[in-house]
Symmetry: C2
Subunit: 421 residues, 2 copies
């Protein structure tokens, strides 16, 4: 058996192991942030980092780092990883694949390092807290805090749908750390499944993300008046859910206002109170997303969405409250790291497809700190955030080989050297 | 202080005590069936029954009875009571008022009985399980089981939104009883707040319910496909929430298809899965209610609702599943008991208003067993199922006096005798 085959076997064994943490009968995982299943995955990850001889750090928001100072304290740090939290009843690969592949690549390079020429960089493996934004909003929370988008205290005070603060949830699973975060990296690399159908349809086995779409995420609430659904005269009801339903329809219809799929729009979460069959709903909270590569489209869609929300509130005579309105501008990943990815892929006999990422990734906030990049493997049927999310085993191997190859080059040649090979 | 004043003081003291079981900062109560707050209220109720010397029985579905066999085992039983469960974040009077007033009236009549002529009837005070239908569906569950609409085993197997069976929830609070239920009654009387604005608007202080509206309760589910709200192409989404939103709007619009308020229609509960901000909703479950005094209106509205649901499902290419579809036909309360109520009210200087009840009440299933009646006090502003649900103290006293007077007459003269006084 070749070295590569051994590594690939290890990768699949570890993926299978991790699929059991919060594993669901449908073959996916239910591992939202700071749940017991998430704790179990975190513990297993920490054990591997320790077994590989890496220095483990758990920072104040539960980001887990494994450090290998191969090149000494003053050398640049190259960071690689993703996240271990999942969507509710989501898939086994989203995030986990990147963390496990990064760990395996770095531990292998560390083990082999003695036989190589002197190291040009240090490595840090990372699993970021609450990437999914399923249990806590905003998403990519741990990486945003690390990148200084907001401070740790604010991030820890976020509450989930049941009012549990992230601080307390992390404390309860033993992952509210006190360590210094990893040193600021000189580059960040993330391996991820595509989460879309384009690679598969174009017949490519690897993707390199060029741009990320902008995204406006709005949480808004309609406030009506609770009342008995029986005797309360229809004209006197102030039904928050009827207003919310009108807005859900309006948000969905926005897709037709912009040609050629320029806008992706959704209401993923709808929380109703008191949510009893025989009480007129007094509160309906919606989580709206508007995504586009074009800032003008997002601004226009945002205006229309607000108009529709106000019109719905007026029609039902309910109040409207904008609770959060966050714009994540579109941007571009490091062209230097893209060039490195294409070069390594070519050595693997591949010609990756240039892609936009419409999903958020931890690599996006990291791009504020350093050159950053996401490389991707195909998602079968484009399926993501669902139990049957999958990637062909040989494509998972190929993604690993790409990441490994990129890290190997920078280990030997440094970031500048690797790019100019 | 007069006897009546002492009883009124006791009534208000007990209402104040019960408002603390699950009391909310807004002045309401949060006491859904088989919660800890509900357990506390049940315990206090049982203590009072015991202190009054009544025989306490807790049956297999947690209905609590307090029996006073004043007239001997072969005499008819007159039953009176309501329920101690509340809506989520509901009001302090709905149900509780009837239970506490019934208890006080019966315990007073039992205590005074020695000085009176021989008793013509026995009394049973009752608190029925899960009247509200908030945590478990269907509503008026305990009284329906007692009335033989379905059997106890089926009722105990109902599950709440978290999958907890009623059997286990009652067991956990120590109220899955093993006693025989109370003997079949010869009459059932329920004192309740109106839960609507009509008494207040007409300037009446008492109401006597004549008819109850029919109600069709439908639980249906749209089934789509979970997917990432980012990269998934808009045209490929199968969004269950968009279909649900369309139906919520259609159900609300049904009110305009029938003139003069002949239809009350609502969607009180909407449960979404996975309900994550960045996952296309794969499940949306709606609880629809259609209420009318006219069976033809309910049937027509039901047809239109089903058409709208199918159209919404087709448009979003999601599946539609009807999970429950229950018709409770309209009906009429006992005219004999109505006559008794008017007669007693006249003695109190009142002229009660004849009302329909659009809300469900335990007295409705009881009407299958025996003459049954609900009498009502005004709801300030018509507010019900809300924390600020209230009735003026003097009207609460008057409602108590009406119930007391009715029970006092039947105690002395029997059901037939009381009617013919």
């Amino acid at each position: 058996m070749t070295d590569a085959a051994t590594l690939h076997d290890k990768l699949h064994a570890r993926l299978a192991q991790f699929a059991r943490f919060g594993g669901t009968p449908e073959g996916g995982v239910h591992r939202p942030e700071a749940t017991e299943a998430n704790r179990d995955a975190r513990r297993a990850f920490v054990e591997w980092l320790k077994a590989a001889g890496l220095e483990v750090r758990i920072d104040g928001i539960g980001n887990i780092f494994g450090l290998a100072a191969l090149a000494g304290p003053d050398a640049p740090w190259v960071m690689t990883g993703s996240h271990l939290d999942s969507q509710p009843y989501g898939g086994r690969l989203d995030g986990t694949y990147g963390v496990l592949a990064s760990t395996l690549a770095v531990e292998t390079l560390v083990a082999r390092h003695g036989a190589q020429r002197p190291a040009a960089v240090n490595f840090a493996v990372v699993s970021w807290t609450n990437e999914e934004g399923a249990r806590y909003q905003p998403s990519v929370l741990g990486s945003q805090a690390y990148a200084g988008v907001f401070d740790y205290g604010w991030a820890l005070d976020r509450v989930d749908g049941d009012g549990v603060r992230l601080r307390d949830a992390l404390d309860a699973i033993g992952f509210l750390g006190t360590d210094m975060p990893a040193p600021r990296p000189a580059a960040f690399l993330e391996l991820h499944i595509e989460c879309g159908p384009l690679l598969e349809r174009a017949g490519h086995r690897l993707g390199v993300f060029d741009r990320w779409w902008g995204c406006r995420k709005i949480e808004l609430r309609f406030l009506g008046i609770p009342a008995h659904t029986g005797p309360t005269p229809m004209a006197e009801r102030r039904d928050a859910l009827v207003a919310a339903a009108e807005l859900i329809g309006a948000v969905n219809a926005l897709q037709h206002a912009f040609p050629d799929g320029a806008l992706h729009c959704s209401v993923g979460r709808c929380a109703v109170k008191p949510n009893s069959p025989n009480v007129v709903p007094s509160e309906a909270t919606l989580f709206v997303e508007l995504r586009s590569p074009d800032p003008g489209v997002i601004a226009d869609a945002h205006d229309r969405m607000q108009d529709a929300a106000r019109a719905a509130a007026d029609r039902q005579q309910v109040a409207l409250e904008i609770r959060r309105d966050e714009l994540r501008p579109a941007g571009r990943f490091s062209t230097d790291l893209q060039a490195l990815a294409y070069a390594v892929a070519e050595g693997l006999g591949q010609s990756p497809m240039r892609l936009d990422t419409i999903a958020a990734h931890d690599a996006v906030p990291l791009a504020r700190l350093c050159p950053s990049l996401v490389v991707a493997t195909p998602s079968i049927g484009g399926i993501c955030h669902a139990p049957d999310e999958d990637t062909a085993p040989e494509d998972l191997n190929l993604g690993f080989d790409l990441l490994y190859g990129m890290l190997e080059r920078v280990l030997s040649h440094g970031l500048d050297g690797a790019r100019n090979l």
